[in-house]
């Protein structure tokens, strides 16, 4: 809804999955993203109902997995630098990997077959989203660093993840 311009003629929108994952963990991310995507599709014709499954995977499951990119980096890089680095890389990666997954889904679909298929859709989706991902990384790390400054306890909430019982 609130797109930000990346270059003249193209914009991007935040996915937000990494942002949720950092505070709530991967399971809650998939649930939250699914709620958002269902409401966007049915209420606003954004995303679409027939594409809902693909969108849940690309923007829910993939961005939930970016939680592990975040935790892996934080284990290696400590302090505020670690927080910013981990948040930025994880959110950038979730945008690009989600776009690659989307590119693959488009490429194998019959609609995109006459236009070059996977060989076309994957690289251009990845290239555009490598740029858009910078916006995602900036917005996500800004929100996370500000939140940690005012409410550091929110980062310590119980995470819903497969290894947590």
């Amino acid at each position: 809804m609130l797109n930000f311009p990346v270059v003249i003629g193209t914009s991007g929108h935040i996915v937000g999955g990494t942002l949720i994952a950092i505070f709530l963990g991967p399971y809650a991310t998939i649930i939250s993203q699914t709620i958002i995507l269902v409401i966007q599709a049915f209420l606003f014709s954004d995303g679409g109902i027939t594409a809902l499954g693909a969108n849940v995977f690309n923007m829910g499951v993939v961005s939930a997995l970016s939680y592990y990119v975040y935790t892996a980096i934080r284990m290696g890089v400590h302090g505020k630098e670690g927080l910013i680095t981990a948040t930025s890389i994880a959110s950038w990666a979730s945008t690009v990997l989600g776009a690659v997954a989307c590119g693959f889904e488009l490429g194998v679909s019959s609609t995109f077959q006459p236009y070059g298929g996977v060989a076309m859709t994957v690289p251009i989706m990845a290239l555009w989203h490598a740029l858009i991902g910078l916006g995602e990384a900036f917005i996500t790390s800004s929100i996370v660093t500000y939140t940690v400054k005012v409410r550091p306890d929110l980062l310590e909430l119980e995470k819903l993840a497969p290894h947590v019982r």
Binding site: G9, S11, S45, D46, G48, M125
Partner: protein, 96 residues
């Protein structure tokens, strides 16, 4: 209602009101790819009540998008809260 909840709600609505005029109308990454390849979009199977974050009966585009955005935000909030509540009740019953 707790104070931080009120503050967060107000901040979100103010941010929405301020960001709407700044939102880019350029096609997004996916739409750009579809345009570049010249793929023709299929007609939709669903007629949404507020297509593209606008409300038909409101002619002012700012008010229209703001109302649609606010509605969407509140519905996401309520649905998420209800699902969270249901999960919490289940967990409490199990006693874990």
């Amino acid at each position: 209602m707790e104070r931080w909840v009120k503050k967060t709600l107000v901040a979100t609505i103010v941010a929405l009101a301020m960001l709407i005029p700044l939102a880019s109308t350029f096609p997004d990454g996916l739409e750009r790819v579809v345009e570049t390849l010249g793929v023709k979009a299929e007609t939709g199977v669903w007629h949404a009540p507020m297509p593209d974050y606008t409300i038909d009966v409101i002619t002012n585009s700012y008010v229209s998008t703001f109302t649609a955005g606010l509605t969407g935000f509140l519905i996401v909030l309520v649905v998420t809260w209800l699902i969270g509540k249901a999960a919490w009740v289940r967990k409490a019953k199990r006693g874990t």
